[in-house]
């Protein structure tokens, strides 16, 4: 299991590097034009939604069934009508569990 711990620490170092790289590049390469700022904010939305879609639908590279995508869709709908964050999240998890119980 010590190789796993070493690999885990490599993951930690690599992850820190991805973060630090962005923080260091941020001011230098792009400058601080208002448009760049807006573009980065839209990039954040694109990344969040992409991870959401991928994690909702797939388990690895294979589709995971309907329960989780439907549950996550309900969570997004709740967020769109300004439900508190935790309500959206619990709705997503609860609906997913319930749909699985029903055999979906």
């Amino acid at each position: 299991m010590s190789a796993v711990v070493a690999a885990g620490l490599l993951l930690a170092l690599g992850t820190y590097a991805t973060r630090r790289l962005g923080v260091e590049l941020g001011g230098r390469v792009l400058g601080r034009a208002a448009q760049v700022e807006q573009l980065l904010e839209q990039g954040v939305v694109a990344l969040l939604i992409a991870v959401t879609a991928s994690a909702a639908v797939y388990d690895g590279a294979a589709p995971d069934g309907w329960a989780r995508p439907v549950g996550v869709g309900l969570a997004l709908g709740a967020a769109a009508v300004r439900a508190p964050l935790v309500v959206s999240v619990l709705l997503g998890a609860g609906a997913t569990a319930l749909l699985r119980l029903l055999g979906l």
């Binding site: 190789a3 796993v4 711990v5 070493a6 690999a7 885990g8 620490l9 993951l11 930690a12 690599g14 992850t15 991805t18 973060r19 630090r20 790289l21 962005g22 923080v23 260091e24 590049l25 941020g26 001011g27 601080r32 448009q35 807006q38 980065l40 904010e41 839209q42 990039g43 954040v44 939305v45 694109a46 990344l47 969040l48 939604i49 992409a50 991870v51 959401t52 879609a53 991928s54 639908v57 797939y58 690895g60 590279a61 294979a62 329960a67 989780r68 549950g71 996550v72 969570a75 709740a78 967020a79 769109a80 508190p84 964050l85 959206s88 999240v89 997503g92 998890a93 569990a97 319930l98």
Partner: protein
Amino acid sequence: MAHGLRAIRALWHDVPRDLRRPILLMSLAVALVGVTYGVTGVSAGFAAWQLLLLALTVLAGSAELLFVGLVGAGASPWLAAAAGILVNLRNSVYGMAVSPLLPRGWRRALGAHLVNDETVAFATSPAPAAAPVPTAHRGRVATFWVAGIGVALGWPVGAAVGAGLGLVVSDPRVWGLDAVLPALLGALAVPAIRAGRTLAVAVLAAVIALVTTPLVPAGLAPVLALAALAVVLVPGRSRPAQSDAPGGLA
């Protein structure tokens, strides 16, 4: 110690009022994802201390879930680490977005560790239009740090609870816990999607992610989804598209 507490209280005071409760609730939700990670990790054969060590040093939910999942499925840990780093490439974009909030020195070194989906979603969330610019900047800085502290506490605490729970329930799917991460990230993005081009970016990003996920190595699909930003780079319809014009941002 007392000094640190006072600093945290000052930060809390600078967080815009309407963001305080959502940040606390987000930290709770992160803890819930941590429970998923703990349960998954224990059922994948990890010891509780290993899961906690990862939680503290990596502090990136989806990458850690992927790492323990792959190792549990019998993949080489080095391959799993590489996959996790790939998943975290998006942090470079997040880092650029919050870079102006992190002054050089120890604040930048420490703050970089707190760059993640949740902290950046809050720190870049639309500011109240009435707030004057310097106040808005201070508010964003405070929001980033307070959300970061919330994640840095919520994640390992949730992981510890999950590791304990994992000895009792072996499958997080029964409780729908595997839906917590996508539900949380999606719910964080929704308020920023008001209309128009951001909505178009979001829809296109989702489509790209769904099409490419089965085709590319784990974690790369969201990075490819950044191509959705092309929607905002295309000049508006008042101007015909120019060929190869440099500085397409204008």
